[in-house]
Structure formats: structure tokens, C-alpha cells
């Protein structure tokens, strides 16, 4: 029997019994749905985090306390006690490295920011004027501060878009207003464009000299960023920075990481997360497959007589095997497509809030896996049908 005929026959069968077809495929639908959604979620997270790093510009070296990103302790204990805190001398020393575009020592703190009639938790980012190109911050309203304000220790600030909305309702109203942070009154001279990073959008950017005093009494920095004009200079500069810092600090007290390194670490972490997510999703695919096998066994029993009739009029074992296999495959591919369709819908919806991504590989894998499940879990029932003795089958009541 031609394969096309088999599929058409199976398809006609399914149309006759829509409820059963739907329920049988449901397991695969849910399985594919969860696999595709989980992959989309994993990819979305990865893209989101990579984007955060890429926003900082490509040719960037980050100097942080602790052993940093590359050793795998990422995050944990980075701001713990006993960690290095950089100071202005470090920034000045690093400034001496040739081929540098800028050095940005950054003081970072979570704190309460208050306007005349509102109070919000936000972040202080105190640095020099190169902070703005570093973080891609541009003024939506007003202007950003520069060298002059640093030298004069001016009490000025550029405010993040969300913080401006939170404190002043209309962001453009923020210009010229005053906010209070840790007892310091700061005049807002600019509102940043919204860039989608919750920390930056809720930050107050101030000259690092202004922060000295009650905001940053120890005059320390939590990290130092080095901007390099081109990518091929990154390794040289990074080596030079290590040498300079080793004069003051122990090797394991600080880390110098290139952005590409961080990105590849992020990639690695999300690679693992994705595998775990796929594994979790695959459990439901497996359960769906077993559901199909179960139904196919029932179908074979229910249709024993049909098998006998077909054998009597000339169907070979192979014909019967293919007939049942094509049914189980069609069932699971149908389920898979349903799952994919649902997943696409959900992804398109969720996209409004979070950058989930549907990728081609996930789609191909979903279809491939569901047909593989149909074949794998269909083989055993189909073999059972094919191996029925024609005469016993035709007598079956």
C-alpha cells in the first residue's frame, strides 16, 4: 500500500473520531508546548542578560572585587566583607595605561531617593562623565553633566526615566527640581532615555566627586570600567591593568574580565539551564508518547478483526505495520503541531512583557521529536498487529 494512501486513510479515521484523536494527541501537545515554551523562556532570559552586557559597548574591560565572573563564583560574595574596594588612586594608576579611551570608576548603591512629595528606592551611580557613553545613557530632556561639574563637585544629577516618572509623574517636569539622597540635595539637570534596564532606569547618575561625603564617605568604588578603542587592544590593556592592580592587591582579591568572557560565561550558564529546561519538558513528551502507545494498543485490539480482513485480502505484515505506524506518527505529529501552534500564540503574547524567543531549532526539534515519538511508541503496538495470525484475527469477536 502506498504511504500516501496510508496517511490519507489514517487521516480519514481521525476525522471520524475527533474527540479521541484530540485526547490522544493532547499528551504530545502539552509536551511540545512545554518544551518549546521552556526553550523560548531560556533563550529569552539569555538574550535579555546578554543584551544588558552588550548595552555597555563591545570593547569593555571590567574590574571587579572578588574572583569575578570567570571562576564560577559569580555574584556570590562579591560585595562581601574583606573584599577589595577600589579608590581614586587605582583609577588614576589605570589612567596611565596607553591606548585607553576612558576609565570609569563606579560607585553604586541602592538607596532612597526623595522629591518634594515622593520617596522611592533607587540606585546611585556615581562616576565620571564617561559613564554616559559607557552605559549608553542619553538625555531625553535637559542635558548630562561633564568634567566641569566633576571639578566643581556640583550637586547635579541625571535621573533615570522610570525614577523620573515615579517621582515627578511627567519626566519632563523633573528638570530643575531637587531630589534628596542621604541628606544631600541634588538638582536634576537631565532625564535619561528609557533603555529597559531596571537598574539604570531607576538610577540617579551623579559626579563621583559629589558623592564624596555623606553618600560615599570612604571614597571607594565598587568597580572600574576601562573602555578600549578597538577589540584587538583588549587583551593588552587587560594585562596592563592586572599588573598595575597586583602592586596593591592580591591576585584573588580582584578580577579583570573582558566583556566577551562574561558573555561566554553567560552563554555557558544558559546552555546548562536550557538543557535542564528541555529535560524537564521532555518528561511530558515521554508521558505523551506512552499515552499514544497505550491508545495504539487499544486500537490494535479493537481492530483485530480489521487486521484479519486486510490480511485475508492480501495485506502483508509490512502493510499492517506501516498502517499502524502511520497512524501513531500522524497522531503525534498532529499533537506536536497543536503544541507548536499554542506555544507560538503564548510566546507572541508574553513577548509584550518579556523578550522570549521562538527559535527555529526548537520548532524543528519539536516536530522531529513528536514524529520520532509516534514511530518509537507506535512500533510495539504496530508489530503486535502485524504479527497477528490472519485466521485468529479474522475470527476475533
Amino acid at each position: 500500500m502506498v504511504i500516501k494512501q496510508l496517511y490519507m486513510a489514517a487521516f480519514a479515521d481521525f476525522r471520524r473520531d475527533k474527540v479521541r484523536t484530540g485526547l490522544t494527541s493532547l499528551g504530545i501537545t502539552i509536551g511540545v508546548l512545554s518544551v518549546v515554551l521552556l526553550i523560548a523562556l531560556g533563550l529569552g532570559l539569555k538574550n535579555y542578560i546578554s543584551q544588558q552586557f552588550e548595552n555597555m559597548g563591545a570593547n569593555l574591560i571590567m574590574i571587579m572585587p572578588g574572583s569575578g565572573f570567570s571562576s564560577g563564583t559569580m555574584g556570590a560574595g562579591m560585595i562581601g566583607s574583606g573584599m577589595v574596594e577600589f579608590d581614586e588612586k587605582d583609577a588614576r594608576d589605570l589612567q596611565k595605561i596607553p591606548n585607553l579611551k576612558y576609565v570609569v570608576p563606579l560607585f553604586f548603591k541602592s538607596t532612597v531617593i526623595s522629591s518634594a512629595d515622593a520617596e522611592k528606592i533607587g540606585y546611585i551611580m556615581a562616576a565620571n562623565e564617561d559613564l554616559f557613553p559607557l552605559l549608553n545613557v542619553q538625555a531625553e530632556y535637559g542635558e548630562i553633566w561633564g568634567k566641569t561639574e566633576i571639578n566643581k563637585k556640583s550637586k547635579v544629577a541625571v535621573i533615570g526615566a522610570i525614577m523620573a516618572e515615579d517621582l515627578f509623574e511627567n519626566p519632563s517636569d523633573a528638570i530643575g527640581k531637587t531630589v534628596r539622597v542621604e541628606g544631600v540635595r541634588l538638582k536634576i539637570i537631565g532625564v535619561g532615555k528609557k533603555i529597559g534596564d531596571p537598574e539604570q532606569d531607576k538610577a540617579l547618575f551623579i559626579p563621583y566627586t559629589t558623592a564624596y561625603g555623606s553618600i560615599n564617605p570612604n571614597k571607594t568604588f565598587w568597580s572600574i570600567y576601562l573602555g578600549v578603542p578597538s577589540k584587538d587592544m583588549v587583551p593588552g590593556v587587560s594585562e596592563a591593568a592586572k599588573e598595575i592592580l597586583l602592586k596593591r592587591y592580591d591576585k584573588d582579591k580582584f578580577s579583570v574580565s573582558e566583556q566577551s568572557e562574561i558573555l561566554s560565561t553567560v552563554d555557558q550558564i544558559f546552555g546548562i539551564i536550557n538543557i535542564v529546561l528541555i529535560a524537564i519538558g521532555s518528561i511530558s513528551l515521554l508521558v505523551g508518547g506512552i499515552g499514544i502507545m497505550n491508545i495504539m494498543y487499544a486500537t490494535v485490539t479493537e481492530r483485530t478483526r480489521e487486521v484479519g480482513i486486510r490480511r485475508a485480502i492480501g495485506a502483508t505484515k509490512r502493510d499492517i505495520l506501516l498502517q499502524f505506524l502511520s497512524e501513531s506518527t500522524l497522531l503525534s505529529v498532529f499533537g506536536g503541531l497543536m503544541g507548536l501552534l499554542l506555544a507560538t500564540g503564548i510566546i507572541l503574547l508574553v513577548r509584550i512583557w518579556f523578550p522570549v524567543a521562538l527559535n527555529v531549532v526548537a520548532v524543528i526539534v519539536a516536530i522531529g521529536v513528536s514524529s520520532a515519538i509516534g514511530i518509537f511508541f507506535g512500533v510495539s503496538p504496530a508489530k503486535k498487529a502485524a504479527n497477528l495470525s490472519p485466521i485468529d484475527a479474522i475470527r476475533y469477536e
Partner: protein, 232 residues
């Protein structure tokens, strides 16, 4: 015996079943039988006599425990599943007591089903032939109906059309009138007689001596053996 060549030749056929208590039940023992081209015969015997088993062995639906089934001079013991299926597809046409049509296929699709299992190029247009057979059996108007929507007599005609679609040399009919009333049964028997007149070999299996008497040769089976006469 007629002088036409034999298309089926059974020699020393025995069929035994191992029962639940491991005793052996002998359904057929040492049966020898020749069926010649163009015959219209009946295998007749009471229920449990082994007549159906005999028919199943002739039609290669079942295998004998011992003995040879020779079809057109070829020993069928050596055939693999594909070849056996091909014999069932092309050489024999089965007609059953229960009609055995597939309820999810239309009448026309049922008649055409054996064509789907044929691997060879056909020397006829199957669609045309199917419609021709349905017309001949006076059920053309039902071609798009489903089997459970037509009468038993009509279903049996469809089954006969299906048995004929591949131009078989032999029709094996197992109690073809068993599920029909006398009048309809007679019509079906008349059909077989007509087909035989067209040259098709027809072998009926029946437990009714009256029906067997309408054929040209009665092969009497009792307790798994072919006998000359019943000792009723």
C-alpha cells in the same frame, strides 16, 4: 473427476492444535484433495468437522501442521509472508459468513481495498472494474454508502465484488448464506452459480446439505477427514 488441471492440491494435510491442558486436538488428519479449474464444489460437514479449517488452509490463511498445499503446481510451504499475501491478494477471493466489510470505508472503497495491497501493475482499470461489479450485482446506487447502512444481502454482494476485484482463479466462500434469510441466500447462491458459469472456480463451505447439493461436487468432511458418506 473433471479433466481440467488442478489448481489446488492438498496432500496428507493434518492440522493439530495444542489445547489448554496440553492435549492435542486434531482438526484435520491426512486430508488429500484436488480442486480443479472451473469446479463448483462444496465442502460440507457438521459444525466442528474441520471444514472451515480446511478452507483456511486452502486459502493460505492458516498453515497445516503437516502435509503439502500445492497451488498451480507450486508448493506453498516455501512462500514467505509477502508471497503468501500475494497469493491471497491475486489468486483467491474470500467471502465470509459475517461479510467482513470495513465499516469505515464506503462500499466502493471496500471493493477497491485489495487493489491497494497489490504490488503489480494491473491490466484493468480498478475503478471501472469495481463500478462494473457493483452494477452487475445491482448495488451500484449504494457505492458511496457505508456497509452498516445496507442490508445483509447487499453486504454479501459487496463482499463478493471485493472477492472478484483482482480477477482471482478461486472463490472461497465460508457459509456465505449463513447470516441471510432463505430468499436472499438463494440469490447469493445463484450469483455463485453464474460466476462459475463464467469460468471461475468456486468452493463453498457449508453445513447445510441442501446448499451443498446445489453444487457439482460435495466434499464431505467429518471429524477432520474427507468421507464418502455420513453415517447419519
Amino acid at each position: 473427476m473433471k479433466k481440467t488441471p488442478s489448481i489446488i492440491s492438498l496432500s496428507n494435510i493434518s492440522k493439530e492444535y495444542v489445547m489448554g491442558d496440553e492435549s492435542i486436538f486434531s482438526a484435520l488428519s491426512e486430508v488429500n484433495l484436488e480442486i480443479h479449474k472451473g469446479e463448483y464444489s462444496a465442502i460440507v460437514g457438521p459444525s466442528g468437522s474441520g471444514k472451515s479449517t480446511l478452507m483456511h488452509i486452502i486459502g493460505l490463511l492458516d498453515k497445516p501442521t503437516r502435509g503439502k498445499v500445492i497451488i498451480n503446481g507450486h508448493d506453498t510451504a516455501r512462500l514467505d509472508d509477502d508471497q503468501t499475501s500475494k497469493v491471497r491478494n491475486q489468486f483467491v477471493g474470500f467471502v465470509f459468513q459475517q461479510f467482513n466489510l470495513l465499516n469505515k470505508l464506503t462500499i466502493k472503497e471496500n471493493v477497491l481495498l485489495p487493489v491497494a495491497y497489490s504490488r503489480e501493475k494491473l491490466d484493468f482499470d480498478p475503478e471501472k472494474r469495481a463500478l462494473g461489479l457493483l452494477e452487475k450485482f445491482d448495488i451500484l446506487s449504494k457505492k458511496d454508502s457505508y456497509p452498516n447502512k445496507i442490508s445483509g444481502g447487499q453486504q454479501q454482494r459487496v463482499a463478493i465484488a471485493r472477492a472478484l476485484i483482482m480477477n482471482p482463479q478461486l472463490i472461497l466462500a465460508d457459509e456465505p448464506t449463513g447470516n441471510l434469510d432463505t430468499k436472499t441466500g438463494n440469490e447469493i447462491l445463484k450469483l455463485f452459480e453464474d460466476l462459475n458459469k463464467e469460468g471461475i472456480t468456486v468452493l463453498l463451505v457449508t453445513h447445510e446439505p441442501d446448499i451443498a447439493a446445489r453444487t457439482n461436487r460435495q466434499i464431505k468432511v467429518l471429524d477432520g477427514k474427507i468421507v464418502e458418506k455420513y453415517n447419519d
